[in-house]
């Protein structure tokens, strides 16, 4: 028994080691060398006088990279990082100076307080459009800053709170030790970002950043992921703030005002939010501004703080005027232009075919109704979609087609009525819950995730049923997580091959033609392994050859046992694909049957088809 376990462990370790060897590259060597040099610097260079400043800078850089988790990964415009830093700092300072807590519990309290504040803010603003997230976090920053200044009872007033000297194993924690700790933390948060960004949670966040509604439709738990990114970002700020006051041994209440939040936000935008090194580069630029401001200020007798604000403002405006991607990405892009690396050949997708639907089931709606105010959007809709068939929903604009689709996928809540698949009611399920039951709708099909490649876009959909993809398993790449990732990848590749995009795996999806984008979103939907797929005008804007291609794909999906509910305006296309047609007018179902039956229905003729020949 023990022998088997040992053998397994040994096997896993050797395999891991072999993979690590294979993945090790020149870049990794350079990175390791830089980190080693940074850690050794205090022993070699005569820096001891400036060590506290340098260590403080490194802690600030940790908070800035933390902010990139929210701003870069999740696209949340957080202006509250300074507030979370201040909350961490003062939780630490109060526990240590007033409560007499030892170092470690106080640090945990600092992280916890900032994380809790971040989570509350995230929960409270999670459903807001991003403009209001910016406003809310900005208001939070002012509340925290003003509170610290106006309440000496909390913050110790003008002197601040003085902390007792921290000791680890009987040794005082000096500036150099703080520096080493800071560098180690900085490496950790950067590596964490690099691991998460290209994997399931990072891809899901990127998809949600671009097209939140389309990501939700594929069953991505957008709100949960965003909350996680925001909370993580706040927790990292709390840690940096707590360690910062340990370093200074005093917590200064005036140090956590709106300017600090602004500075951290600027560092992220200036350096580039989509790379974890960007914030560090941005912060370096700002500290250069700060030095310049001190020099000029001393020369002219001007307040350096204001000069620094001015230079930072101008610097950011300059970068924004130049396009706004940030300094580091701009430098990297021009570097790549000169040293164009040969694109790595990816083996084309193996001959995986899309499997048949495992548990085909009919979709039924009973008396489904929705009003918007006094407008009847949908009244008493009864629909039946059998597996392996294509059901087209047609009707004039505003007749309730898209409302019906949204009610079925759970994007809207009905006033009355119910939706069921295979006799099981779906009414209490969220969009994600319904996606897990196999009911998936794709949005207007040319909405792609612009920042992702073709493969990555489909991976977002394929990740729906993946287990072992939690953030910890992802970070530590456990064997289960890696097996899961491989299975998801196979699923994604087979969906891509089904629609015929296997030659474009690494192309950014924003570069695809309109038809390819249509196919891409179809593939993303298929990768979730649906039983019923709902398509909103899949053929909008397609040419004749493209229509034929699409119709052919839908035919083959029907043969695999998939139920397809298609909203469509193009009646030629409807005739080509649909087994059954339902006609809506002003929210009511006025006819249902084969296209021929529907077309001969007098109500339909007058309502909708009057001037159009079938």
């Amino acid at each position: 028994m023990t022998g088997a376990v040992l053998e397994q462990t040994h096997g896993a370790l050797t395999a891991g080691f072999r993979e690590a060897r294979a993945a090790w590259s020149l870049r990794a060597t350079i990175a390791a060398a830089i980190v080693a040099a940074a850690l050794l610097a205090p022993a070699v260079l005569p820096l001891s006088g400036r060590m506290p400043d340098i260590a403080a800078f490194v802690y600030l850089a940790v908070a800035a990279v933390g902010l990139a988790y929210a701003v870069g990964l999740a696209g949340i415009p957080s202006l509250g990082q300074g507030a979370f830093l201040g909350i961490g700092a003062f939780a630490e300072a109060i526990a240590r100076a007033k409560g007499g807590w030892p170092l470690l519990p106080a640090l945990l309290l600092g992280i916890g307080a900032a994380a809790a504040a971040g989570m509350l803010t995230g929960l409270a603003t999670g459903r807001l459009r991003s403009a209001f997230v910016a406003v809310s976090t900005w208001i939070l920053t002012w509340i925290v800053g003003l509170t610290l200044i106006s309440f000496p009872g909390i913050s110790g007033g003008a002197q601040g709170l003085v902390l007792p000297e921290a000791e680890v194993l009987g040794h005082p924690l000096g500036a150099t030790a703080h520096y080493e700790l800071g560098v180690a933390l900085l490496v950790l948060v950067i590596v964490g970002y690099l691991i998460v960004a290209p994997r399931a949670p990072g891809l899901a966040l990127a998809a949600a950043r671009e097209r939140s509604s389309a990501a939700v439709a594929l069953g991505v738990p957008v709100a949960r992921f965003r909350l996680g990114a925001f909370t993580t970002s706040a927790a990292i700020a709390g840690l940096a703030g707590a360690l910062g006051v340990e370093l200074a041994q005093v917590a200064d209440p005036s140090g956590y005002d709106a300017t600090l939040s602004f500075k951290l936000f600027v560092a992220v935008i200036l350096g580039g939010a989509r790379t974890p090194l960007g914030p560090v580069a941005g912060l370096l630029v700002i500290s250069a501004f700060s030095h310049a401001a001190e020099r000029v200020g001393a020369l002219r007798g001007l307040p350096p703080g204001r000069l620094e604000e001015m230079l930072t403002g101008y610097g950011l405006l300059l970068v924004l005027g130049l396009g706004g991607a940030g300094l580091l990405p701009a430098v990297l892009a021009s570097w790549r232009r000169f040293h164009r690396a040969p694109t790595r050949e990816r083996p084309s997708a193996p001959g995986e075919t899309l499997p048949k639907v495992e548990h085909p089931a009919p979709l039924t709606t009973r008396r489904l109704s929705k009003n918007f105010g006094s407008l009847v959007a949908l009244a008493e809709l009864d629909l039946e979609l059998s597996p392996g068939s294509v059901h087209a929903l047609i009707g004039p604009n505003g007749s309730g087609k898209t409302t019906a689709l949204k009610l079925v996928v759970g994007d809207l809540r009905p006033d009355r009525g119910s939706v069921a698949v295979g006799g099981q009611a779906l009414d209490d399920l969220t969009t994600r819950g319904r996606a897990l039951e196999g009911i998936v709708g794709t949005q207007q099909t040319t909405e792609v995730f612009a920042d992702l490649t073709v493969l990555e876009s489909v991976l977002v959909g394929a990740g729906l049923r993946r287990s072992h993809a939690g953030i910890f398993r992802t970070l530590f790449a456990t064997p289960k997580a890696r097996r899961g990732a491989a299975a998801v990848r196979r699923k994604a590749l087979s969906a891509i091959q089904f629609v015929g995009l296997e030659g474009e795996l690494d192309r950014p999806s924003s570069e695809l033609s309109a038809h390819e984008q249509r196919l891409l979103m179809l593939a993303s939907g298929l990768a979730t392994e649906p039983r019923v797929l709902l398509l909103d005008e899949p053929a909008a804007g397609a040419g004749p050859a493209e229509l034929e291609h699409l119709a052919d794909l839908l035919d083959r999906l029907r043969q695999k046992g998939l139920g397809l509910l298609v909203i469509e305006h193009n009646l030629r296309f409807v005739r080509r694909i649909a087994d059954r047609v339902s006609v809506l007018e002003a929210g009511r179902l006025i006819a249902s049957g084969s296209l021929a039956e529907v077309a001969s229905d007098p109500a339909v003729r007058t309502a909708y088809l009057g001037r159009q020949r079938l």
Partner: protein, 311 residues
């Protein structure tokens, strides 16, 4: 009783300025969907530019000003403020609106705010400035102070309230009754439609950035002598106006103005009123309205329909 009267008058005078900033925030939000983080600093910019022309950066005594020079200074201050407002919109905000990039405009409006703050702070280096009074209020009452129901009140406060209300009325009237105002309403309800029928959308919005800045700045300049004015005062002015505008969901000019008055009243009441032994005191005056606004935003967010991602 005398305290209540004092609180009401000073609260309304401060709130009148917040209200005009709120009118500006509402209009800008409804036209463009953005929140102009630099608004307060732009208003402060006008106030400081006026001071610079009227009296320089040296300490001013209250009576040292000729009305003609002040008028010139006021005009120059408002023109500068309008020009900066319109220029920053065209150069740094509109490009990001076209790209639909929230991060872009949040970053650029904040950058404008801090560039303005830094510029003002580097020119006016003392912590706060006492402004000269343009109008001879000190000749009314006792040195510009009258008694009302036992309370001593600056005469200027009544003038500020009146002017602010008149400016709010002007804004509302412009929006309802002029061709320019109707064009703005068209843009607010449907930008694409407005562009389609040939309205010069960008120019109209730029003009609005210029006008709302001048509107709030005019009231701020008149109110400035009531209390020491600093760079920070300007930023907070913008924030309080924003809070007022959010409370009424960026509604009509009258709603925004009323909300601004409410914020001013709440602030004055929290600062000064005591019920028995219990009084909150000045340190709560700025924080509580902000906290209230944050709580309100959270409440609205949590009540929204699951799919509706809006405020």
């Amino acid at each position: 009783m005398s305290l209540v009267v004092q609180v009401i008058v000073t609260g309304l005078a401060a709130g009148g300025v917040y209200g005009l900033v709120a009118v500006g925030h509402s209009l800008i939000y409804r036209l463009t969907g953005i929140v102009y983080f630099a608004f307060g600093d732009l208003v402060a910019f006008a106030v400081f530019a006026t001071l610079l022309v009227a009296a320089g950066t040296a300490p001013v005594s209250r009576t040292s000003l000729a009305p003609g020079r002040f008028l010139l200074a006021l005009v120059i201050g408002l023109v500068f403020c309008s020009a900066v407002g319109a220029a920053t919109y065209v150069l740094f905000i509109e490009p990001y609106l076209l790209r639909g990039s929230t991060l872009g405009w949040v970053a650029s409006t904040l950058a404008i705010a801090f560039a303005l703050r830094g510029m003002m702070g580097a020119t006016f280096t003392r912590p706060a400035y006492v402004f000269p009074d343009p109008l001879p209020f000190d000749e009314l009452g006792r040195d510009g102070v009258v008694s009302l129901a036992g309370a001593s009140i600056q005469v200027r406060s009544f003038f500020v309230i009146g002017l602010a209300a008149a400016l709010a009325a002007l804004a509302a009237w412009t929006l309802e009754r002029t061709r320019y105002g109707r064009a703005l309403q068209a843009i607010a309800s449907d930008v694409e439609g407005a562009r389609f029928v040939g309205l010069p959308v960008e120019a109209l919005v730029a003009l609005t950035f210029a006008l709302v800045g001048a509107l709030a700045a005019l009231a701020a300049v008149v109110a400035a002598p009531s209390a020491p004015f600093s760079v920070e005062t300007g930023t907070l002015l913008g924030l309080k106006g924003l809070v007022a505008a959010m409370i009424v969901r960026f509604g009509s000019p009258w709603a925004a103005f009323a909300a601004g008055l409410g914020v001013g009243l709440a602030e004055a009441a929290i600062d000064n009123l005591r019920i028995g032994d219990f009084g909150l005191g000045a340190q709560y005056g700025e924080i509580l309205p902000l906290a209230f606004a944050l709580a309100l935003i959270a409440y609205r967010s949590l009540r929204a329909e699951p799919s509706a991602e809006r405020a």
